[in-house]
């Protein structure tokens, strides 16, 4: 009886082992680095990994997160990572510096950047931002130095807003302590942190860049030109998998947040459930996930960003749209 059952089971186990080995051999291993520490901004990517969507696309993806010390692009140039999630602003600045990176999939469709100041400081309109403080000093603007800083700087220059710029490296501390008058904020991140520090919404004056003619879309999937040329199908599969990961994540928010928490735990990073829930919903709603244009950086958005960055001297050169977005047959216009 025992022998008989062993004989029956053995071929099945063997077949399974072969199948697994075959699948592993087909899956292409790639690494991707997130533009910030673990948080719900990357929930769709975690979801794609954990729910087996990457595997479905034949990918074995290793997810990493940027530390505060390095620029996200450093991860590409140092070959630490095959792909990165970065904002369009960061990518344009780095490309202008000569880093040959390309956009292989666009996630965000609009800007989530805000300028925030405390109510009661004499600031009600954008024009007021240029006015000095009641004590006569210029306003102090805390602006991200790396990655996200280009877009708010372009905005300040376009609106001819004068003030002193303070590099903002580690969150909202400068603003809370009163070391900065105006702070750059992602609506899904720093804005919520201010609310979580005790500010009531009516105690803050907020200016959303997308409402003020500076709607430059943000996160996209980037890689080096060489990587793209070597295996364009991998970039395309990764992009598609991430988009699908996000679609599934938005359909299963509880599961998605559980994955976010898992990655926070893995990287010993804080997980504030209310904040992550807020971020997940808000960031998720800012993505272009449906329709034929999903995943594609729109030519109009690209051209607008290049024009603005050039005008305000954030870049001195830019490549053609088709070179920046090599996977795109036709760039949609706005």
């Amino acid at each position: 009886m025992k022998l008989f059952s062993g004989i029956r089971v053995f071929p099945a186990v063997l077949a399974l082992l072969f199948a697994a080995a075959g699948a592993a051999a087909e899956n292409r291993t790639v690494s991707i680095t997130m533009t910030w520490q673990p948080q719900a901004q990357f929930a769709g990517i975690y979801y794609a990994k954990e729910a087996g969507i990457f595997a479905k696309y034949g990918l074995d993806v290793e997810i990493r997160h940027k530390t505060a010390e390095l620029s996200i692009v450093d991860y590409l140039t140092s070959k630490h990572s095959d792909f990165i999630i970065a904002s369009l602003g960061t990518a344009l600045v780095e490309r202008s510096k000569g880093v040959p990176l390309v956009n292989v999939c666009q996630l965000g469709k609009e800007s989530m950047v805000m300028l925030i100041t405390a109510a009661g400081n004499g600031i009600e309109t954008l024009a007021d931002l240029s006015s000095p403080t009641p004590s006569g000093k210029p306003r102090r603007f805390a602006v991200w130095k790396v990655d996200f800083g280009a877009v708010p700087l372009a905005f300040l220059r376009e609106r001819k807003i004068n003030g002193s710029i303070i590099p903002m490296n580690t969150g909202i501390g400068l603003f809370l302590w009163g070391a900065a008058d105006v702070i750059c904020a992602m609506e899904y991140n720093e804005y919520y942190q201010l609310l979580a520090a005790g500010y009531e919404p009516d105690e803050l004056v907020c200016f959303r860049l997308r409402d003020n003619r500076m709607n430059i879309p943000e996160d996209g999937l980037y890689t080096l030109e060489s990587t793209q040329k070597a295996a364009p199908e991998v970039s395309a599969a990764l992009g598609k998998a991430i988009l699908e990961g996000w679609r599934e994540a938005l359909r299963n928010p509880e599961q998605a947040l559980a994955y976010v928490r898992k990655y926070c735990d893995r990287d010993n990073s804080r997980f504030d459930p209310a904040h992550q829930l807020w971020m997940f919903k808000l960031y998720g709603s800012s993505l272009a996930l449906e329709g034929p244009q999903s995943g594609i950086l729109q030519r109009g958005d690209y051209d607008f960003a290049v024009k603005v960055f050039r005008k305000y001297e954030l870049i001195d050169s830019a490549v053609d749209y088709s070179r920046f977005c090599p996977g795109t047959k036709t760039g949609g216009g706005k």
């Binding site: 501390g173 400068l174 504030d272």
Partner: protein, 677 residues
């Protein structure tokens, strides 16, 4: 549904009693409960506040020595500008010395702005800490992998130009949750060149905070200057009771009190109130206030919590402890739980006792009621309950017994009396029949007499009356007409009347003259009249051949004469007193001649003295005017007309006297005279 007043005695008393007991008991109970609640609240409030204040002070005590040491180290660096080794020594010595009083101190750093500590070095940071062996090590760190001057602990004192306690952070170098006292270092020109950082490990704070939980079931929490949860006691890693909430619990360390309030609203308690309350608590705590408030923070299962808080002044933090209110007030609830069964038993006992008492009172009453019902239905021999005691019910029973006996005797007597009265009434009825039988029935007395028509009526006031009338022929063409009114009423009057009737018919056959006839009747009546009865009496004799009407009036009402042309007058002649009064009285007579169509109306005082409800009398003049104005085509028509008018006048008032009317209408022989208009 029965109305309250229709309820039985015992139900009503019990209902009122229950209402009273509940109201009074509820009032007293409520008052005692509220007073006890207030006293207990105050007591636990004082104790919990004292504990949280004391613990906050104890936590706070770690901070000032560090602040002083940091200031002194920065000053020494500024003044002495020591070399690398000297700085290392200073760090080692300060750390060793201070750790004796503040064991949570886990490291000291001296860090400079790029090229600020050494013109040749971009990164210049010394970090002293206790290594795994418990030895103090001082290393030089910083570089591209750790750009220390970008971190808040460095940049904030740089920008603010004064010392701060940083928000709690996870140190990437040591992996420790800490807060740093960052003291600026300035050069001789007063320019910021670096920071002295004293790192305070937060690991021990949770244990220290546990002292605030004076009752042993509270949940302490320490908030940083900007509301971040700093620490929980190590032995209470799960402030929540359910598995679902425990999933969230360890993460609360990563939250602020405000983001946690947001989580309450979104996920944990679907209550906006709890969230708003927690935000209010958070604001009060961050403002450095001491106090307490009610709300729901951690414990969903046990309802409301009381949150006591006090500031940790030096770093601008705040310590709070949340107790389940149910547990804080458990002594009150225990007391209530114990008192309620006693109170309920007391109420039931009271209702039972009163119910028994009411039953003792009401049962004899019910028996009396049944007996009264039975007596009322005629059973006078119904047995009554035996009277017990001298109380009201006993007296009532005795009184009822007396009443029953009296009633029985009375009814017996009534029975006898009623039988007697019925017998008398029966005899009176017979007498009435006899009396009415005496009166002449034939009107007119001779149906074929055309010379006159006659109407006669007697309506007695009682069953047997005292009035009389009579008419009869007395030979030839002469007729006698009589009306009388005997004094008094009833049987004596009737008998007297019967005597008169007998006498007048007998004597009229012998005596033709009215005066002589009346004189004779008076004489006979007066003889042996020991009861002194009398009768007013009018007697007239009509000769049909001549129309002469002779009459004698013995004290009677004057008759009314109506001529054919409607003229009327009273025959006022009086020929003597009423009969039976003066035995030897002599009565004369008068006479008138009647023409065809003339009427003589005889009546008794029952007609003229008929009274209405206002006691007004009908009167002779009214009668006379009536006779004048009413048509007189026949005696009957006039008679019925007159009686109807008298009845209308009386209007239903009781008839006080006999009403007797006799009308004689004279017609010419052989023809009926026409009525003049």
């Amino acid at each position: 549904m029965k109305r309250f007043r229709d309820w039985s005695f015992s139900t009503r008393i019990n209902a009122v009693l229950l209402l009273f007991l509940l109201t009074a008991g509820g009032g007293i109970g409520g008052f005692v409960y509220l007073r006890t609640y207030a006293i207990l609240s105050k007591e636990v409030g004082l104790t919990a506040t004292a504990a949280v204040n004391l613990t906050a002070e104890r936590i706070n005590s770690a901070f000032p020595p560090i602040e002083t040491a940091a200031r002194e180290l920065a000053l020494a660096l500024e003044v002495n500008q020591p070399g690398l080794e000297a700085q290392k020594r200073m760090i080692r010595e300060t750390l060793a010395q201070l750790r004796e009083t503040v064991p949570s101190l886990c490291g000291i750093s001296v860090a400079y702005v790029p090229f600020g500590g050494d013109p040749d070095r971009e990164y210049f940071m010394l970090y002293g800490y206790v290594d795994k062996n418990g030895e103090i090590a001082v290393n030089q760190i910083g570089g591209n992998e750790y750009r220390y001057f970008k971190f808040d602990w460095f940049t904030i004192p740089q920008l603010l130009n004064h010392a701060v306690w940083t928000e709690p952070y996870l140190d990437s170098f040591t992996g420790t949750e800490m807060s740093t006292r960052s003291q600026p270092i300035r050069n001789a020109a007063g320019k910021f060149i670096g920071v002295v950082g004293f790192d305070l490990s937060l690991e021990g704070l949770g244990t220290l905070a546990a002292g605030a939980d004076v009752y042993g079931y509270g949940q302490e929490f320490l908030l940083s200057r900007f509301g971040r949860f700093v620490a929980f006691p190590e032995n209470k890693t799960h402030p929540f009771e359910t598995e679902e909430l425990r999933q969230e619990a360890p993460l609360i360390i990563d939250s602020t009190v405000f983001s946690y309030a947001d989580l309450l609203k979104r996920k944990l308690f679907p209550s906006r109130d709890a969230s708003e309350k927690l935000r209010m608590i958070g604001h009060a705590m961050l403002a450095g206030k001491t106090g307490w408030t009610r709300g729901r923070v951690f414990n969903r299962q046990e309802g409301m919590e009381r949150i006591f808080y006090a500031p940790v002044a030096a770093p601008g933090w705040s310590l709070g402890v949340a107790y389940p209110e149910a547990k804080l007030l458990a002594p009150l609830h225990e007391l209530t739980r114990r008192v309620i069964p006693f109170a309920a038993a007391g109420v039931l006992l009271c209702l039972f006792s009163v119910g028994m008492l009411v039953r003792r009172i009401s049962r004899p009453l019910e028996e009396l009621t049944d007996a009264a019902q039975s007596i009322g239905e005629g059973d006078f021999d119904t047995p009554l309950p035996a009277p017990k005691g001298l109380d009201q019910v006993g007296r009532l029973t005795r009184a009822f017994r007396s009443m029953q006996e009296a009633l029985k005797a009375y009814v017996e007597e009534l029975k006898t009396t009623t039988e007697a009265r019925l017998r008398i009434e029966s005899e009176l009825e017979v007498a009435r029949q006899i009396q009415l039988g005496i009166l002449p029935k034939m009107v007119p007395p001779l149906p074929d007499t055309e010379e006159f028509s006659l109407y006669a009526s007697l309506r007695p006031a009682r069953q047997v009356g005292g009035d009389l009338y009579d008419f009869f022929p007395i030979g030839g063409s002469r007729y006698c007409f009589i009306v009388g009114d005997v004094s008094g009423k009833g049987i004596p009057a009737a008998l007297f009347m019967a005597v008169i009737q007998t006498l007048q018919r007998g004597e009229a056959e012998k005596i033709q003259d009215p005066g002589a006839l009346v004189t004779r009747i008076n004489e006979l009546l007066s003889r042996n009249n020991e009861t002194l009865m009398f009768v007013t009496y009018f007697l007239g004799i009509l000769d049909l051949r001549s129309g002469v009407f002779q009459y004698t009036n013995a004290g009677h009402n004057p008759p009314c004469l109506r001529r054919r042309d409607g003229q009327t007058g009273l025959l006022t002649s009086r020929h003597g007193p009423a009969l039976g009064v003066v035995p030897d009285a002599k009565y004369s007579s008068d006479s008138i001649r009647l023409e065809a169509g003339d009427c003589v109306v005889l009546y008794t005082d029952g007609v003229t003295e008929a009274a209405n409800r206002s006691n007004e009398l009908f009167g002779v003049e009214t009668l006379r005017r009536l006779i004048a104005t009413r048509p007189a085509t026949s005696a009957a028509a006039l008679g019925e007309d007159l009686l109807r008018t008298v009845d209308q006048f009386a209007g239903g008032a009781e008839q006080a006297d006999d009403i007797t009317l006799l009308i004689l209408r004279f017609n010419a022989v052989g023809r009926i005279p026409e009525e003049s208009s």
